[in-house]
Amino acid sequence: MHNQEFFLNALIYLGAAVVSVPIAKKLGLGSVLGYLLAGIIIGPFVLGLVGNEAGEVMHFAEFGVVLMLFIIGLELEPKLLWKMRRNIFGLGGLQVLLTAGIITGVALLFNFQLNRAVAIGLILALSSTAIVLQTLSEKGLMRNIAGRSAFSVLLFQDMAVIPILALLPLIATLGTPATLSETSMQSIGEVAQLPGWLQLLIIIGAITVMVIIGRFAARHIFRLVAETGLHEVFVALALLMVIGIALGMDAIGLSPALGTFIAGVVLADSEYRHELETTIDPFKGLLLGLFFISVGAGINFNLLIENPWLIIGFVLLLIFIKFVVLLILGRIFRLKKGFEFLFAFLLAQASEFAFVLISFSKQNKLFDEQTSGMLLLVVTLSMAISPLLLIFNDKAVSPILARWQNKLEYDEIEDEETPVILAGFGRFGLTVGRILLANGFKVTILDNNPSNVETLRKYGFKLYFGDITRPTMLEKAGIEKARLLILSMAEHENALKVAEIVRKKYPHVKILARAKDIFHVFEYLNMNINNAERENFHSAAELGNTALVELGFTKYEAYRATRTFKHHEDQVTEELYRHWLEDQGKFIQETRRFEEQVKETLQAEKNYSIHDTDCAWDVDSLKDEAKKEE
């Protein structure tokens, strides 16, 4: 029974994911590695639960990459994309050209024919969008400059796939006189057979249509569907749209991932953006997981066992070449202070596009069975190793770099003995710091954003570039003698980690913290830190206060009403905290976190009447009594 087989497979894949990913996460390995390990375990080499269909599954699961790019598109406004153009074309273009060139050269040394060497170079120059983007979002690096740069390069590579696909059949005919088979041409779609200018025209036309529809028609369609009140219809519409775009792009020879990415950007300022994001997100997650599992399951260990050293040598060589090129380019494009290493490690693996390109080249008789098998294995292994590279970067490279950098700054920080350490001098920390400085306190200010540090130094602030999460940095900032540590950085998870270390090692230091939301406040409360402030609560309350004034309250009434609300919020927070302690560890998905917060806050609010605390003036009881006396 076909159905049964399908469900059995689903059972195996899902089971493997559910078991291995949490374990990998616990061990600090990240979900990608977890999925890959799961794939290896259920694959033919270990348990043999899945066999040849893993390849098909992978093709299916590649759709996860498409969904992921759609979501990333949704989060990127066109303006921001325009800002990134220099990185996309400069950094991305140079990366592909240089890497392809060097790998071609190396392949020539291994006695490959020129056309094959070029094909290998082009195929291996690409990096894995799936792995890198998953890692970026998991580690919250999308806003980090290394992450941004990596993303730019990936975008360029996505675009580069189109000409590479067109180029491969051409270079296949250059070396070997064998003519192109009709079928292989067919497989890249009919548009690819048209002349170049027409092809370009079609692509531009398609994108224009997409932009017009996205700008003017999409919101009406979404509203129409949203008004039905049936969530599943909205889900269906969202999927329909993404799949439609993917197929359409494929038909005109554009990468589906790139097409949906553009669609995402077009919809980035639509009011249905968040709804779309939360709808697509679970599908993306599952499919990507499936994709990684199938990569793991597809590793051909037999080939590895036959030539272990040769294969491992190739993998390491590939990673080394990509790494060095990326590192140098990162430097040229002004990535500094360890970010260039992060950038290079992020992109040092081969791409999932390589699977497609390799099999395509095989069809075009560019590679024989042996070569394509080896290439596939090298690609797969490089992808499997890449999460390890990042761990290596985190644990070994950055601490060394940090130590080296700290030495340069050591003297500067040491001569000061300040009562306050302020970590994070961005939008939030700036205000905190200015209040302290204005009142004559000496503050040691740290920030981990080099451009921020540079800018603020120009305005006369004395601050240090540094990463407070490193224990040595804490020491050098003078934590031993400090009275206060203010954690005002935007990286909330890191702030929690620092708080935990300081609580343990320097209990005399009082910690004040910026919290993302109420759950973050609870995490601090759990460490006995009761000075965490939600980063947006007070400013929001201020605005509410202004609204009351605009609605006719006197300023004093509005002030009291807002102040009462804050007081009331304190009580609600206490209640929520007790509640949170009871079911701590409850899994709240990031996208649902806000919803959950609103729900629980409103529930807890029922226990306190906002009017209880403010009935001192104009009480009815007094009027009643006065009437009685008369």
């Binding site: 007081h567 605390t613 009594e625």
Partner: protein
């Protein structure tokens, strides 16, 4: 304040510390009142009265049907007292002096407020000439104040004598 902060059975309720924005938590303050038998308004004598935060406290906390009114009996039978410090010497606070009225005359609103709340109002503890005190004199005052509060706490003050004195300070001075 330092002199009495460690006294058992005494709660120092520093309003400026608790309510820097004058936003007074009424239920909490009322609870505190019901838990104590003697309430002391301890403040400098600004413009012949208490600083605004004490007035705000009275405005909000001494609610109808809590502190006064037909059903307002929460403070019934408790003692109230003012402890004030003022720059002027005692002679200035008299019909012939610059300030024309005595301290107890100026304290009329507090006396009557206590009365309305069915409380018994004690003579005030007053520190005169506060600008000119040296540290030794300040210490003497602090010690005396501590003694007064201990006597009050332990209920060792003769009710008869309360009627004969103008300031609470006299209880100590007579003893000494």
């Amino acid at each position: 304040m330092e002199a009495i902060k460690d006294l058992e059975g005494v709660t120092i309720n520093n309003l400026y510390e608790k309510y820097p924005d004058f936003f007074i938590d009424v239920p909490a303050e009322q609870k505190l009142l019901t838990e104590h038998d003697i309430i002391i308004w301890h403040h400098p004598f600004y413009w012949y009265s208490a600083p605004a935060i004490i007035k705000e406290w009275m405005d909000l906390v001494l609610e109808h049907n809590f502190a006064y009114g037909t059903n307002g009996r929460a403070l019934q039978g408790k003692w109230a007292m003012s402890c004030i410090s003022t720059g002027g010497r005692k002679e200035v606070y008299s019909a012939e002096g610059k300030n024309r009225y005595t301290i107890n005359q100026f304290l009329t609103p507090y006396i009557q407020s206590a009365n309305l709340c069915r409380m018994k109002y004690l003579p005030p503890y007053v520190v005169h000439g506060s600008h000119l005190l040296n540290s030794e004199q300040i210490k003497k005052h602090a010690d005396d104040y501590r003694t007064v509060i201990e006597l009050l706490r332990d209920n060792k003050i003769d009710a008869q004598r309360l009627n004969t004195i103008e300031y609470m300070n006299e209880i100590i001075e007579h003893d000494a």
